[in-house]
Symmetry: C2
Subunit: 322 residues, 2 copies
């Protein structure tokens, strides 16, 4: 697990989440355990557990209530990753082959189902009506986003509204839920639950746009997956949608983005056209708006060190290179 | 939907479940709606909703509580069917092409995720801790069964214990849950919840064994799917496991069952060897034991007409030809 210095306040508890997650996916099925552990070991930033714990920090930090919530969030996230890799036919994630690439569709479907079921079991045991309801509603929306992604792939006619619809469901809603649930199980005042949710939503949107920018601008070694992955998979992201409007070579770009089997050369050409169009700067301006919005929600919260940590985290998400 | 005469008592309410299910899967995504409606229209016997409603009949029949439970059960069942068809690579189900065959893996994964998420949403709104917990636990076990099925496919060395492990998770637990939950939301006495659960479990086991027998003995036109589907997919069922012990041509049968790409001729040969071994009669004796067990649980329940209906249903499940 990549440890972010920003999580200093909750470091040891995040490690506990990590350990519990490993213990939790242990089963008597070698294949399943291998694939789940593979997924866990690939790491990721454990953003969702971190947000839940940080939100709890404002309100007495009832760790025993926060831990199962943090774990459920990460399990749901992992389950959607495995199924998304089937949907997107992804080969690598975080520098490692995906479960799909390594074990195929069948194991991926089963692994995702298992992780989701385990998370349901945890959620049921939390036995807090709001927790169940929020996570169920997020699950419905996430699966709507998944469908929309299938429907819109390789479609060069789509607009930013469709893109926002998708990334909200793919990323923002679960991060929003992470912040809200951390607050809810810690008995936060209603207005502050709302503010933390607003922060999480904005951070989630920013996070996904940065992800989509990095897919065009980063080096594969930093990214842990091939650059241009979205391009190859036909996932239309903000930089592409903006570039399709602004590029001096609109038609060529449109042809390249809509083409289902791009050569490596074509992917590189498309990346260059996107960069030349100014779409990256424009996307980052949009990220800045979300970051500003996220920070403004923080004003509603008690002025404790955690508030500063959340503001720094927002900035980190903007500036990250991986 | 095939209407069973056995469901006379709850006919109009089952129709309401049906209508609600259709309304429920309506979305603004044509593909998703098409695949979900395709699945709904393919019908099935709606056994799980029926069991939940019938269980409620013993205890004042609080329909408004029973309906969402009945719907959740069928949505979970449908979700697992779609994902199972990916896992088993099934081409037809109930006389129609599967979602997988018609739209591929990607849509199948997404459709299953969507149906499951919709069911979670319903369950969260029921807001009954026991309902959530039971369904979450069943989901975990069902996904364990799914993994076991992958692991054991084409494995001719497996025994009946592994088979029981699998069909319990594939079928019996959700039918058990259907009976129990119908009773629980109707505030049944604890002992009767237990008895209805026991009935459901035994019925579920019997149902699956009969299914597996029909896969060998039925005509494709009755079955709605190709005969020998389990054979082709490498799913080892009770008739096969018994035949592997008893057949006078063990080695030939073992070769055929373990072979991954069987010709149609080889499937027919294997079916004949299974029939000749006496495995079908032996399997049906096992069904009879479960049916007897199911009926014995009914003795714990109030002597109202529903009890007779459940006994008839047990008999029907034994004698069915489709």
């Amino acid at each position: 697990m990549k440890q972010l210095w920003l999580f200093n306040q909750i470091n040891s508890d995040l490690q506990r989440v990590e350990k519990e997650l490993h213990r939790f996916v242990e089963t008597d099925f070698p294949v399943l355990e291998e694939s789940a552990v593979h997924l866990l070991d690939a790491g990721g930033k454990r953003l969702r557990p971190a947000f839940a714990l940080l939100a709890g920090k404002f309100y007495g930090y009832p760790l025993e209530k926060l831990l199962p919530v943090a774990m459920s969030l990460e399990l749901i996230h992992m389950a959607t990753l495995v199924h998304d890799d089937v949907v997107d036919d992804s080969k690598t994630r975080r520098g490692r082959p995906t479960v799909k690439a390594k074990w195929g569709n069948v194991v991926s479907v089963a692994t995702g189902d298992y992780l989701l079921a385990r998370s349901l079991d945890l959620i049921a045991k939390i036995n807090h009506p709001k927790v169940s309801l929020i996570l169920a509603e997020v699950s419905v929306e996430m699966s709507r986003g998944e469908i929309q992604q299938i429907k819109a792939s390789f479609d060069v006619k789509q607009n930013l509204k469709q893109y926002y619809y998708r990334i909200k469901r793919k990323t923002a809603l679960l991060i929003e839920a992470s912040c809200k649930l951390g607050a809810i199980v810690s008995d936060a005042p209603r207005r502050q639950v709302w503010a933390l949710g607003g922060y999480g939503h904005a951070i989630g949107m920013a996070f996904q746009i940065v992800d989509d920018v990095l897919d065009v601008t980063a080096e594969a070694s930093q990214l842990g997956k091939p650059v241009g992955g979205d391009l190859s998979q036909g996932i239309m992201t903000m930089p592409m949608i903006i570039a399709l409007q602004r590029s001096s070579q609109k038609e060529r770009l449109s042809y390249l983005l809509g083409k289902e089997d791009k050569t490596e050369l074509e992917v590189r050409e498309a990346i260059q056209l996107i960069k030349d169009s100014g779409a990256i700067d424009e996307s980052m301006r949009c990220v800045d708006l979300y970051i500003r919005k996220a920070k403004s929600y923080l004003q509603e919260l008690p002025n404790v060190p955690t508030r500063k940590a959340l503001a720094d985290l927002a900035q980190f998400i903007r500036d990250r290179k991986f």
